[in-house]
């Protein structure tokens, strides 16, 4: 993940949760409301779609079984969110 495109206070808060430049993020699930559950190390964090757009993710990785569940929709929405799939 590259540096979050968020205001300083909010960037600091997501950094405390482990979401900071250079970290390895795995998108696990699509949630009600269009957000995602992402894995950062062993933590699971639910993020809304707007915030996810401000977290510049690199190549998208999904845990295999979850990828099957979410499928193309996840990839499309991730692409819309600015993540290279």
């Amino acid at each position: 993940m590259a540096a979050p495109l968020l205001p300083a206070g909010r960037a600091r808060r997501v950094a405390e949760l482990g979401l900071r430049a250079g970290c390895r993020v795995t998108v696990l699930l699509r949630t009600a409301g269009g957000g995602r559950v992402i894995a950062v190390e062993d933590a699971r964090i639910a993020v809304d779609a707007e915030t996810l757009r401000r977290l510049p993710l690199g190549p998208l990785e999904a845990v295999a079984p979850c990828r099957r569940q979410v499928g193309r929709r996840l990839r499309r929405s991730a692409a819309r969110a600015g993540c290279a799939a």
């Binding site: 950094a15 949760l17 949630t31 957000g35 062993d42 699971r44």
Partner: protein
């Protein structure tokens, strides 16, 4: 930081430290991020019953307790402070400001003697950031490592000794849920209190440096320090494992199934509450109307007060009031227990995710769901729980919305009214009332956002999802008891007083009708007051004085509505709200008369008025403390005008249709 925040911080600081100075014991401050088991550890160490659960930011006040450190050379008893949850010393919410202030912003001599940092072994990197910051100050620190079982199940192995070396302070493995490792922790804390403070690590930004590039550089340095410690002291699988919690989340947070399951869960909670509590309520009521009243009557008769007004006050004022309060205990206890199980299991965090979009429509973040859902139990703690929201406008708006969440006190009125007017259909009526309550919250929130707070942005949802856990009976029981005790303390006196005042008003005659203590209820001051107000409710179909008097008492506390009716109609309070008996027949007859035969429409209008108008004086007192008198008065005006308007619309439309 606003003046209000400063005042809040200062008062909290004084409250916490005033007692500490007085008893002279060493002070240990318990800190940690949300969901690491901090409050559970506090309870395990002190025996105190503090709010515990899996919800981020559950702890919103500074708690205190006494922790006995046994063993040779131990300092005996220390004061343990349970500080609000914080993942760092960079505050965004008032609660986090309190934590920072108490730990590092106060003069060095006022800081705690030792800081016990609770660190989650399954999320080491994230949890250790707070340790990195605290190590930049001259503090004695001990790390309590929790969630070791979760870490192991995920293939994460932590070398305790290596971690202790890396972070430069003692580390103890704990399982507060099962009370494991507490003796070892006590021993380590005892020796750390006697030891010198560890050398301060690195540098910390000076005041005023926040929000600058330097500050961000310092944060990067801390993360690098944490990463190095974690790398050297732990090992983990190369790839993320998909956990059991992930598999459950794939269902519980899914776009369609998630909200449906959430609705089903809430429906089950209310069904279980209403069906299981009923026999317990009957048993308690029988106890008070039977043996307790008979015993008191005999006792009063023996001392010659059986037929005096004092006897009436004791029997119909005090015993009736206490009896009514206690019949609510099973209902409240069950509701609190079920909510505690949902919190402890980790589901509440998922509920916030599922409801986030809904909350956004009214400009509130998913986190605002917590106070609102607590409001369905009791509005009083719900108003206090708004402190989990960092934005002042979010707190204000949520506080104004909480009274529209249908608390359990209103449930008994729904049940009685449903049993009278919709026999055999009480479950559906109650469920409808709860759905209407949710719709009312959304509609009022939307209206407030569209009018008063047009510029309010919505806070992004970034919420930690703790692993699911099997709820423990001890923890759920402790939370239930804590909330029940709070309810009895907050509302108990008010309810008993309200019942006593109603009795007193019924004893005072108006315009020479009878004498004190010997007056028909229809000619008492109570009926006179209600008659003055009653015409206002005529357009809603319940413009008789009996209904008006119940609503007046309900302003004080909704729990008193049923007993007020029983006093008004001089009928025995129903043993079971599902079988209203003579009281039901009287109420139905009056509604039929006042509504011109449109009884069903009037009953729905009455239910909606009960739902929407001011919940109780205890909620008002709490609101005044949180948002001030002006906004509280605004809220009361909003509730009364909305309740009246909705009741009138429902009755008039119902009359036209029916």
């Amino acid at each position: 930081m606003s003046i209000l925040t400063r005042v809040a911080v200062q008062s909290c600081h004084c409250a916490a430290h005033g007692e500490l100075v007085a008893n002279g014991a060493a002070v240990v401050a318990l800190v940690g991020a949300a969901n690491v088991g901090k409050s559970t550890l506090f309870n395990a160490l002190t025996g105190a019953r503090r709010e515990v659960g899996n919800w981020p930011g559950t702890t919103v006040e500074v708690g205190r307790g006494r922790w006995r450190l046994s063993g040779e050379g131990a300092p005996g008893e220390v004061t343990l402070l349970d500080l609000p949850g914080a993942g760092s010393l960079d505050p965004l919410s008032p609660d986090e400001v309190v934590t920072r202030t108490l730990l590092v912003d106060v003069p060095a001599q006022e800081r705690p003697d030792l800081v016990l940092v609770v660190v989650d072994a399954s999320r080491l990197t994230r949890s250790l950031y707070l340790v990195a910051q605290l190590r930049e100050f001259d503090l004695r620190i001990v790390v309590g490592l929790t969630m070791n079982d979760v870490a192991t199940s995920r293939g994460v192995a932590v070398d305790i000794d290596a971690l202790s070396r890396e972070v430069g302070v003692p580390v103890v493995a704990l399982d507060p849920r099962r009370r494991a490792g507490l003796d070892a922790l006590a021993a380590v804390v005892s020796s750390a209190l006697d030891a010198r403070r560890p050398a301060v690590r690195g540098r910390h930004p000076a005041a005023g440096e926040a929000q600058t590039g330097d500050e961000l550089a310092v944060a990067d340095e801390r993360f690098a320090w944490v990463n190095e410690a974690v790398t050297r002291a732990s090992s983990r699988p190369a790839t993320s494992r998909r956990t059991a919690s992930d598999r459950v989340d794939a269902v519980l947070t899914a776009p369609v199934r998630g909200p449906l399951i959430f609705l089903a869960a809430m429906w089950a909670v209310f069904q279980v509450t209403t069906t299981v509590a009923a026999p317990l309520q009957r048993a308690l009521d029988s106890l008070f109307t039977g043996p307790v009243s008979r015993g008191a009557r005999s006792l009063l008769g023996a001392v010659g007060l059986g037929h005096s007004w004092i006897g009436g006050f004791v029997l119909n004022g005090i015993i009736a009031g206490v009896g009514m309060l206690l019949t609510f205990v099973p209902l409240m206890a069950l509701m609190f227990l079920l909510l505690a199980v949902l919190e402890d299991s980790g589901y509440m965090a998922r509920a916030a995710v599922v409801t986030d979009r809904l909350m956004r429509t009214i400009g509130l973040p998913g986190r605002a769901f917590l106070p609102l859902v607590v409001g369905f139990g009791c509005n009083v703690p719900a108003v206090t729980a708004t402190r989990v929201l960092p934005d002042a406008r979010h707190r204000l708006m949520t506080t104004l919305l909480v009274p529209f969440t249908s608390c359990t006190a209103r449930l008994t009125v729904y049940l009685l009214v449903a049993a009278i007017f919709f026999p055999g259909d009480a479950g559906n009526v109650v469920f409808t009332m709860y759905l209407l309550s949710i719709l009312l919250v959304i509609a009022v929130g939307y209206a407030l956002r569209a009018t008063l707070w047009r510029t309010m942005g919505s806070e992004p949802l970034v919420i930690d999802l703790p692993p699911y856990q099997l709820p423990t009976a001890r923890l759920a029981g402790a939370v239930m008891w804590l909330r029940l005790r709070g309810f009895l303390r907050t509302a108990g006196g008010i309810i008993v007083a309200a019942v006593a005042v109603v009795w007193l008003l019924q004893m005072i005659p108006t315009s020479g009708a009878g004498s004190f203590g010997d007056v028909p209820v229809q000619r008492s001051l109570y009926a006179g007051t209600a008659r003055t107000v009653a015409p206002a409710f005529a357009p809603a179909g319940f413009g008789d004085w009996q209904a008006a008097s119940a609503l007046i008492v309900g302003f004080v506390a909704k729990e008193a509505v049923v007993s007020s009716w029983s006093q008004t109609y001089a009928a025995a309070e129903p043993k079971d709200v599902h079988s209203p008996g003579a009281l039901g027949a009287s109420v139905k007859a009056d509604f039929k008369r006042s509504s011109g035969g449109h009884t069903t429409a009037a009953a729905w209008a009455f239910l909606i008025f009960i739902l929407a108008y001011t919940p109780c004086v205890a909620t008002l007192a709490t609101q005044k403390r949180e948002i001030g008198a002006r906004w509280t008065a605004f809220g009361v005006g909003l509730q009364l005008s909305l309740a009246w308007s909705l009741a009138v619309v429902v009755f008039q439309v119902g009359r036209l249709l029916g």
